[in-house]
């Protein structure tokens, strides 16, 4: 079997050059969808009968929670690919995932806490969903710390990949926690199997936000990976050429 395509996929230079033309499209569609969905959810979706207007936090809380968990899987899978095939690019993707995931889990914890105050009357409770989710943010923090703890980059990559793989156990626990220990957090609004418990007028803006956040995640993952590629490949000829080209085009821009 011809494996050339697979190895080309693992080439940082190929990835960097390929994604260059995608960025403006991703940037416009991600921010466009997030703005439309945000305004729809804030002003046009009907008020919830029980939670009143504070339910509008759902539109930012739930989609970010989904992508923060998807981000973890991507981090773990790319770590595994890096370990198995000893490819460079997957480790760069893995490293890029950690700060994004940490940012996203902080968003989810903060918005959840702000939503909890008017709805449950408390900022925080040691509920199963909240606790298992807090562990997810610690796992991201651990991945960042491990990356910085080793002088040798290969060792740091391997240690992070192993932590990421072990931590995947936590994701199904977070997902099922609302069913296994039904204490405070409400069960899932959208169900993959079975009927969702949300009216279409509230559902459509949620769909826009979910798609918007996934496009946004693709965008930031590419952006962070590209920066990591430049750092790690700084001694290669193609990056040196890129620096020269960049300063040339800037020089021309300044003269014109």
């Amino acid at each position: 079997m011809n494996w050339q395509w697979f190895h080309r996929l693992g080439s940082p230079r190929w990835f960097y050059e390929k994604t260059d033309s995608w960025l403006p499209w991703l940037m416009v569609s991600a921010w466009g969808l997030l703005l439309v969905g945000g305004i729809w959810g804030l002003g046009f979706a009907p008020e919830d009968a029980r939670q009143h207007n504070s339910f509008r936090i759902l539109y930012i809380h739930a989609p970010v929670a989904y992508i923060s968990m998807s981000c973890y899987y991507i981090m773990a899978i790319s770590g595994a690919v890096g370990l198995i095939w000893k490819m460079k690019l997957p480790f760069m993707v893995m490293k890029a995932c950690a700060p994004i995931g940490l940012g996203l889990t902080i968003v989810v914890l903060l918005t959840g806490s702000i939503w909890g105050k008017p709805t449950w009357g408390t900022w925080w409770e040691w509920d199963a969903r909240l606790t298992s989710y807090l562990i997810l943010s610690f796992l991201y923090l651990g991945a960042i710390a491990l990356q910085q703890a080793f002088q040798n980059r290969d060792t740091a990559d391997k240690a992070s990949a192993i932590l990421a793989l072990v931590g995947t156990v936590n994701i199904p626990i977070i997902y099922k926690s609302v069913d296994w220990w039904y204490t405070l957090h409400q069960p899932a609004t959208l169900k993959i199997v079975g009927k969702s418990t949300i009216d279409p007028s509230m559902l459509y803006p949620l769909f826009v936000m979910i798609i918007g956040f996934y496009v946004f995640f693709t965008l930031v993952l590419i952006l962070h990976t590209r920066t990591e590629i430049l750092r790690r490949e700084s001694r290669t000829q193609w990056v040196k050429d890129l620096v020269v080209d960049n300063s040339k085009s800037k020089g021309e821009g300044a003269r014109s």
């Binding site: 979706a45 930012i60 702000i114 962070h224 700084s234 040196k240 620096v243």
Partner: protein
């Protein structure tokens, strides 16, 4: 589909929930903005630093 509030003040206030909703939205969009801009700034700094480094190497190679 219609706008759910009677006035802008009503929209801001949201029957007392406005402070929670608006704070949450501001936090999220703030962090999203940071996640988008930070790699771009890092790239710019990297290119600037590398350019300086290349210049230094060139200068030290001169007879």
């Amino acid at each position: 589909m219609k706008f759910q509030f009677d006035s802008l003040a009503d929209f801001m206030h949201m029957d007392g929930h406005g402070v929670f909703v608006w704070t949450a939205y501001a936090l999220v969009y703030g962090i999203l903005m940071y996640l988008t801009i930070s790699p771009l700034i890092q790239k710019k700094n990297f290119l600037k630093q590398q350019k300086k480094w290349q210049q230094l190497q060139k200068d030290s190679n001169l007879p």
